[in-house]
């Protein structure tokens, strides 16, 4: 079974902040990581590979340095890696990103495509389902358990607001996964060795035969108009005294608010 896992290299979002005085970003020494949800996608790919004697190809779109994310995925046990890197891809929104990666996946061929549910920098959760539409295949989002895989179908649990659905799909299919699905494995020593030697396949817009107007900034329907720091809350009432006094004041306030 051919499994393609889509990953993204992201800045560790918890550490990115805006300086409210200068309205600029504080990002000194912010490390880049594989998007945490994509780690669960890689693990899911590897488990399916082991069950079906398949092959896992990891793919990412990004600057040349995203190669290190691909090597990390190989060290966990992925077989092949593809880097989509081209100045023409720069500034892509989710539409243009999904369009570009889906062209590459169509070239590679896949029975199962796995993505993390969303990337922690953009949090859109859109690229996966958009790719499924471009590839004209079904998708199931927010997978928390894979119940069964057959040569031409798959049965999974999909998270919903008030519980979950058991959903069946024909193959090929695209899945987006949540962290409850599995525990990503650590790289093995052998994996680390092969990651060093592995050849990363690089594809640009020429190889993918994409028209310039459908990729990067030109191919993106949405534009970022501006960015700004979230507003801080203003009203604040300080409670004073020992714990008992503070609690009494709070209880008074709650009574005032008529929430009893």
């Amino acid at each position: 079974m051919n499994i393609v896992v889509c990953i993204k290299q992201v800045p560790d979002s918890a550490e990115v902040r805006i300086n409210p005085e200068t309205n600029t970003l504080i990002r000194d020494g912010v490390p880049t990581i594989i998007n945490p949800y994509d780690m669960h996608a890689i693990e899911a790919g590897l488990q399916i590979k082991e069950m079906t004697k398949g092959k896992v190809t990891v793919i990412t779109m990004g600057p040349p340095q995203a190669e290190s994310a691909l090597r990390e995925a190989i060290s966990m046990g992925s077989d092949d890696a593809v880097l989509l890197s081209d100045r023409a891809f720069a500034g892509a929104d989710t539409w243009a990103t999904a369009f570009t990666i889906s062209k590459a996946i169509a070239k590679i061929g896949a029975d199962i495509i796995i993505c993390g549910k969303q990337a922690i920098d953009g949090d859109t959760a859109q690229v996966g389902p958009e790719m499924a539409e471009f590839l004209d295949i079904p998708h199931i989002a927010y997978i928390r358990k894979i119940e069964d895989i057959k040569p031409d179908s798959i049965k999974v649990q999909r998270m919903m607001d008030e519980g979950y659905d058991i959903v069946e799909s024909s193959l090929p299919v695209l899945l987006t996964v949540v962290k409850e699905l599995n525990q990503p494995r650590l790289p093995s020593l052998k994996g680390k060795m092969s990651a060093k030697k592995a050849e990363i396949k690089k594809l640009g817009d020429k190889e993918l035969e994409i028209d310039e107007k459908d990729t990067g900034l030109k191919g993106s329907p949405t534009q970022v108009k501006n960015i700004f720091a979230p507003e801080a809350r203003s009203e604040r009432k300080i409670l004073a005294g020992n714990i008992e006094e503070q609690v009494n004041q709070l209880a008074e306030e709650l009574k005032q608010l008529k929430c009893l």
Binding site: I26, G91, D123, A132, K155, D161, G219, S220, P221, R236
Partner: protein, 397 residues
């Protein structure tokens, strides 16, 4: 690329690197700045460069792919689950009504599944028109029939704006609709407004886990599509006298390659749904123990609220995931949010900071939760909570 570095002017001072939100600028070996593929053309670096070395190349963006006058009206995708309308749909009708009034256009709802009676309710919640299909294929949620029919309707009626809930359903199938229509989609918007000059939709959303807000435009494609998180917008007015038109939709031949075999509800252990609750008492790692939640349930009971949790408490196994509030859990907007032993990591704050009143109880006076709190108690929650519960019980009589 529309943003480039004038290499003659660049001194390699690195000022631009620290202002770039997308990590898109690097100093190359030659000591000059270089803008890489991460650039989103946000223009933050342009004004930051002391040398004026970063410049915008005026380049045509995506060509206008529509006749602006052809696209009119605001649509709300009204989500139903098990036949009942999701609360977020009413919130979207409230937001959509304002946008439609400002654009002097019509507000329509699109309802797949449920009954004509439900469609009528949407009119009372301020829709002028409801496109409704009661086809049994929509009883359970499958992405393909949902997206196919919505695409067909949009192609036929050409709305200018389409809003949907950022729920597991909306976030799953709306991207397929945007992909097929070759138009923009903005996820998880927290505010929507109309640009006075252009009439474009200004879509504000958090990025980087809520550390940054961004305004997104979709100027050259239609419709402009956005998903909005539940409990962010206020519900509109219910007007039992309102009259409108229900348009039955011909579904044609819809198929699905996915099939829902079973829907399983997970009991949350709480009478009140987290996202509908007026009062939430939430606990974090500071509880130190699963037993701490007994106190929270007791306080919630007294206040008639429900119990939430930070990711840390869920990861410890003290409470089920369905109680989790935050970026990877639910977004809530209660009247009162009481955070007990929650330090206030940004991932938690983005899920609750629009609550009307936030009360924080934490031992650590430096905990970031106090930055968003209306009232703060610095101290041991095991001392404070029993006292508070006692006080409130007395007050209740």
């Amino acid at each position: 690329m529309p943003i480039i570095v004038d290499r003659d002017k660049c001194t390699g001072c690195e000022t631009c690197i620290s202002v770039c939100p997308f990590d898109a600028i690097k100093i190359r070996d030659d000591g000059k700045a270089f803008i890489n593929e991460y650039c989103q053309a946000c223009m933050a670096c342009l004004s930051a460069c002391p040398e004026g070395a970063i410049i915008e190349i005026k380049e045509e963006g995506a060509p206008i792919s529509y006749q602006p006058s052809d696209y009119k009206g605001v649509w709300v995708f009204a989500e139903q689950r098990e036949g009942s309308i999701a609360h977020v749909s009413l919130e979207l009708l409230g937001a959509g009504r304002k946008l439609a009034d400002e654009l002097k256009t019509e507000l329509s709802a699109v309802l797949f599944g449920a009954t004509e009676k439900d469609a009528n309710e949407l009119i009372k919640w301020e829709a002028d028109k409801v496109y409704h299909s009661g086809n049994a294929i929509f009883e359970k949620f499958n992405d393909e029939p949902y997206s196919r029919l919505l695409v067909n309707l949009i192609k036929e009626h050409k709305p200018s704006i389409v809003l949907a809930g950022a729920t597991p359903i909306g976030r799953s199938f709306i991207p397929r609709v945007a992909a097929r229509l070759r138009t923009g989609l903005t996820a998880d918007c927290t505010s929507l407004a109309i640009d006075k000059d252009t009439g474009n939709l200004l879509q504000v959303r958090p990025a980087f886990g809520g550390n940054i807000m961004a305004t997104i435009l979709c100027p050259n494609h239609r419709p402009q599509i956005a998903t909005v998180r539940p409990r962010v917008m206020k519900r509109g007015e219910y007007n039992p006298e309102k009259r409108g038109e229900i348009v039955p939709v011909n579904t044609g031949n819809l198929t699905s390659r996915t099939r829902v075999i079973e829907t399983i509800k997970e009991a949350s252990g709480c009478k009140v749904n987290l996202q509908e609750a007026d009062i939430i008492v939430a606990g974090g790692r500071g509880l130190g123990d699963v037993k701490g939640f007994n106190l929270l349930f007791e306080l919630a009971e007294v206040l008639g609220g429900t119990v939430g949790a930070s990711r840390a408490a869920v990861d410890e196994g003290w409470i089920q995931y369905s109680h989790q509030v935050g970026q990877t859990g639910k977004t809530v907007c209660p009247k009162i949010y009481i955070a007990c032993g929650i330090s206030g990591a940004v991932q938690h704050l983005v899920g609750m900071q629009s609550s009307d009143i936030i009360i924080a109880i934490n031992k650590n006076p430096e905990a970031p939760i106090f930055n968003v709190a209306t009232y703060g108690i610095v101290g041991d929650l095991y001392e404070a909570l029993p006292l508070l519960i006692k006080k409130l019980k007395e007050a209740k009589g």
